[in-house]
Amino acid sequence: MSEIILGSKMVQLIIALILVSTFLILGSTRLYSCVRAFGIQSFLLACVAGIVAYSTGKNDIYIVALLTLVIKAAVIPYIFIYIIREIKVKREVELYVNVSPSLIIGGVLVVISYYLIRSINILSELSSFALSASMSLVSIGLFVMISRKKAIMQMLGILIMENGLFLGAISLTYGMPLLVELGIFFDVLIGVLIMGILIFRINKTFESIDTDMLKTLIG
């Protein structure tokens, strides 16, 4: 049954769209558009969850889908925008790696992820597509953290990784026990809040949220 769901054009399409949204983040130089792309990604994720919930008929997953929609697609982007407004950061995403190389590396990461998951050769083709997408998200998320200077983009990177995990979890096992899911959402939310606080702190103490400033502790 599960194979049917994941095999459905719908899910495949959405997963592909999620990847596209990830590349939007990689390709954009404006903070707002990054946040927007992240919002879209989360929304798509909620859609996947919804479809899974519908086809498995588990009520738990509806809740998860709803939570995703509310927290990841709405609250968190809002927090981002709030932070950007409050501390009046420059709107540019400052890069270590330029846009076009970033996109190429992102592409390479997707290919590698796909290859890795395929070469493990224990999953069916369809769930391996989902899993490789999830791997791609995780690795691109990490790449975003590595290649972007601003603290706020690192926060975004973590959330992309988190989304990747979510995609993996939902496509592999149709979510985890509700209690656990709730805990994870709680943690993510609190995490974002605390990171927000930290970003404010950084801005206050360093008068910038450029992580290049955070290089005093060495040795």
Partner: protein, 679 residues
Amino acid sequence: MVSGEMMITYLFSGLILFYFIGAVSAVLLNKKDGVCAFISFISAAVASVFGIIFSLSVIWGDPFSLALPGTSFLQFGIFVDALSAFFILVISVAVFAVSIYSIGYVREYFGKKNIGYLGFLYNIFILSMILVVSANNAIMFLIVWELMSVISYLLVVYEHEKPETRKAGFIYIVMTHIGTGFIILSFLILAGSSGSFNFETFRAAGVAMPPLLRDMAFVFALIGFGTKAGIVPLHIWLPYAHPAAPSNVSALMSGVMIKTAIFMMIRVFFDFLGAGQAWWGYLVLAVGTLSAIIGILYAVVEPDIKRMLAFSSIENVGIILIGIGASMIFFEGGRPGLAAIAAIAALYHLLNHSVFKGLLFMGAGSIIFSTHTKNIEKLGGLIKKMPVSSVLILVGVLSISALPPFSGFVSEWLTFQSLLLGFNFNTFTMIVLSISAAVLALTGALAAFCFLKTFGIGFLALPRSEHAEHATEANTPMLLGMGLFAILSILLGILPFYILPALDRVTRTFIGVSAFSQFFSISTFGTIVLPAKSSLSTPLLLVLMFIFLLVPFLLLYNARKSRAIYETWGCGQPVSTSRNEYTAHAFSKPVEMWFKNLYRPARQTEATYSASPFLKESFRFESRVEQVFEEYIYDPVVRFVMAKSQSAKVVQTGSIHAYLSYIFATLIILFMFVIAGGS
């Protein structure tokens, strides 16, 4: 009436108890310096009396063992056979004299340092040494062994205000730690075969191990214990640590502590590993010979008296190891009787060394006590300022120079004889033993040179500085402590016939046979008779010398009456100032020139001239010898580690992006690992 067994248990408990009392009372009384010093050191002395009685009754009686409570993981036990007892005896004798000396010596620190701290460490230090030689379990051994090292480290840095003391302590504790690392390896190999950490099981397992493992266990044990014993080239800590410690502690460290390593070598090489391979003995012999000669060569040119004594300890450990190496060669060659003689020689020298080195360190302590300098070039004329001390120190000097009939002579004689016994062996052995003997002879001569210099420059003629000018005699407890050892040095020299049979009982425990009556005997005048009529009777020599005193006395009759006092001859110039005296450096110059390849002496001269270039206004001369082992082995290693560490520190760049990349890279690598089917 308590049974003998109970008696021994009481003695052992008493011994431990009094060290504890000493330690605890030192802490409790640390507000009152005088009382604190008195109680804690007296308590140590009392404990050592228990130790002496205990060890003698074990040597002449049965082994003593005691199981302590514990879990199967950590089971402590005490086992004292004649060998352990002998070392307890050595420790206790030294402790007795040193403790009495300490009562006087620590007055130096009154009001300046915490005496309670010293008394506490002192007692625990001794206790740990006692436990080291009586531990019956590898883990317990390691614990007390390191306890001993740590406590002695703390004693070394007692005067930690001086930077050089801190450096000394650091070198010491690092070297001893490296040594312990090797000991652990050796024990683990043994434990791996025996399946237990109990020493009893080591005995059975060691012999049955495959040769490669045995060799490894042997080499690791040699390195590990050798570090503590101060064998060349692992000796570098010794000349730092021993001088840095307070002199009473130096006396114990040099006199006793490094001997515990010898004890364990005997235990491991003979007891645990059995006869072993032929090359083991040769290696030990070679190491011993090298240590002896290198140790004394550095001692000869050393101006710091305590450092000089430390180098001399390296030399004496070398001599002891020569005996042990020879014993191993004989033992492996199936001649346990000869092995026993060599081992007796080694143990005898060990005993003697602990006495005369203790005496000399205490003597050095007295000198420092009254002159506040360790530099021999600043001493001189002390024989008039410190008449009693100087006589006592002279006894130590004569003993360590192996002059008859003092103690060092007997043990060196025995060592030579045991090397000669190699004529029963094959060609290679004979040549090796002879070379070793030749080096030993050179060592002995240089030792005489070195100590003659020390005594001659330090005590005779005129004071060379203000320090020496105002020296006063040491106080009574110090003299008592030194006196005890001086008497003992003489007794050990002239009463070997009492000591050899006891030593024979000791060596029997690890060699298995008795050499007494079969390989040596004691005949009239306390003569030691070895195979083929080689014999020695120090008591008779002494008596003869006393009788012969008659001749010069007759010749010198009335000499005192017709004696004029005048200035020293200086080619007609008045030279009776200390500036015209021969310096210690000048004295040792011939040897320095002889071995200049080893010393690599460097000199710097600096002269300032007044108007004419022929008239020097002042002249400064500086000369030093290189510590080859430090500068060519240890320093490069340290520099290498430092340089590599410096470059490795780049990892921590401070950039969070770099840190994240590490994680990323790790992930990718592990993935590759899995894909490659890694396991």
